[in-house]
Each structure stands twice: as structure tokens, then as C-alpha cells.
């Protein structure tokens, strides 16, 4: 499809969300663009205590494959003109972008839905695990049933 742009990337290094959105915007003339960027929270998800950094582990090979599958499902279902899906792994500082999802479509309903489906599914259907590192030690972030339900709701 002319103007079709897909940027799907699992990466160790940091990225600039606005630069990627600019690339999507300039490459695709679609009327609606929606995006979500998740960043490292300053406090632990369970402890509420300040954290120093976040460590993200992934299953090499499988994580890329699952990301691609989620992106292709979104692309087909909402007939997207373009999409961006970026996810970091490794050690991240507080405030750094972890994940970016963006969708370009002809109408806002499709762009919002595709963007939300991609982030919901990244949380529960792609093999990533987060570990919070703080002054008093580190702990694995527990999975939340609300996240699993959100991803489940997008099953066709």
C-alpha cells in the first residue's frame, strides 16, 4: 500500500517518541493519528517507594515475533495506514520512555482503538518482565489481572 509505514522495534537504547511520531506524520497522509507513550514510573508499583531504575527482561526471538503479530493484527483489523510499536529492554532510568504505540487511520475511532489494542496486548501477550530497582533492593513487578483482561477483550 502506498504510504504504508510500519516501524516495529525491540531495542536496548533509548528513543525519541516525538521523532518517531514526526516520521509517521510525514510519511502517512492519514487523517487521524493516535499515540501512547509509557515511561518509567518514579515509584515502585507495589512498595510505593522511590525507585532508581527499571530492568526489563525479554525472551529473545519470541518477544520480536509476538510484537510483530500484535502489530499485524492491529494493521489488518483497523486497516491502518501506518503504525509504530517500539519497546525497550535492559536498564532504564526513571522518566525514560519504555514503550510507544501509534496508529494512523482515516478516522479517530480506528486510530484510538488500534493504539489502545497494541499497548494492551504488549502488556499481556509479549514476553517481557519488569524488575524495579530501589535503594533497599529490587523486586519483580507482579502481573495485574486487569491488564490480562484488557488484552483478552481485544480477542476477535
Amino acid at each position: 500500500m502506498a504510504g504504508d509505514l510500519q516501524i516495529i522495534e525491540l531495542r536496548a537504547s533509548s528513543f525519541d517518541p516525538l521523532a518517531l511520531l514526526a516520521q509517521l506524520s510525514s510519511s502517512v497522509p492519514a487523517a487521524a493519528l493516535a499515540s501512547f507513550c509509557g515511561r518509567v514510573r518514579a515509584t515502585g508499583s507495589c512498595s510505593g517507594q522511590p525507585i532508581d531504575s527499571l530492568l526489563i527482561e525479554h525472551y529473545p526471538g519470541m518477544a520480536e515475533q509476538c510484537m510483530n503479530e500484535v502489530a499485524q493484527r492491529a494493521h489488518r483489523r483497523w486497516q491502518l495506514a501506518g503504525l509504530v510499536m517500539i519497546h525497550r529492554y535492559g536498564e532504564l532510568a526513571v522518566g525514560e520512555p519504555i514503550v510507544l504505540t501509534a496508529a494512523a487511520a482515516n478516522h479517530r475511532a480506528a486510530a484510538f482503538a488500534a493504539c489502545r489494542m497494541m499497548i494492551d496486548c504488549l502488556k499481556s501477550e509479549v514476553p517481557f518482565w519488569k524488575r524495579e530497582i530501589g535503594a533497599t533492593g529490587s523486586s519483580w513487578v507482579p502481573a495485574r489481572s486487569a491488564d490480562a483482561n484488557a488484552a483478552q477483550a481485544w480477542q476477535e
Binding site: Y59, M62, L122, S124, P127, K130
Partner: protein, 85 residues
């Protein structure tokens, strides 16, 4: 017999203090049979596999259920529920 490559991730990898193991199983074994065999290896493994409600299975890099049939040379990933995004 079949040989299966098992990969552990996140808290399960830490608990077992190993990232990868090779396991020999009878032909026709399922993922559940593999986990039974792993749990029987030693006390550390028995404890780590005691609560299977929190265990997720990937068979050749796709999410799978415990009844997945394994073949020689397959890769099985075992890990806790994922927490990306």
C-alpha cells in the same frame, strides 16, 4: 526418547539459578510431562514448580497450554506471567 531445550525467564530463572537446561523425555510427552520431570529433579525445582497457576508456557516461541505435544529438538520457555508495556 526426545530431547527438549528448556529456557527459564525472570523470577523463575532466578529461583532455579539456571537459565537453560536440556531434558530427555519419553516420545509422546507433553509440556505437563516436562514440568513433572523438572519438578522431580531436586528440592529447588520441586518448590519452583509447586504453583503451576503462575507458570506460563511457550512452545517453540508461541504461548501454549500444558497439553502441548513435544517433539525432539523443541524449545520450551517457562516463565511467570508477563509484565511488559
Amino acid at each position: 526418547m526426545i530431547a527438549v531445550r528448556v529456557l527459564y525467564f525472570a523470577s523463575l530463572r532466578e529461583r532455579l539459578a539456571v537459565a537453560e537446561e536440556q531434558v530427555q523425555l519419553a516420545a509422546g510427552s507433553t509440556a505437563a510431562d516436562l514440568i513433572d520431570a523438572l519438578a522431580g529433579r531436586n528440592d529447588l525445582h520441586r518448590q519452583a514448580f509447586a504453583d503451576r497457576s503462575q507458570l506460563r508456557i511457550a512452545h517453540n516461541r508461541r504461548f501454549a497450554s500444558a497439553d502441548a505435544a513435544l517433539a525432539d529438538g523443541d524449545e520450551v520457555g517457562l516463565f511467570p506471567p508477563v509484565t511488559g508495556g
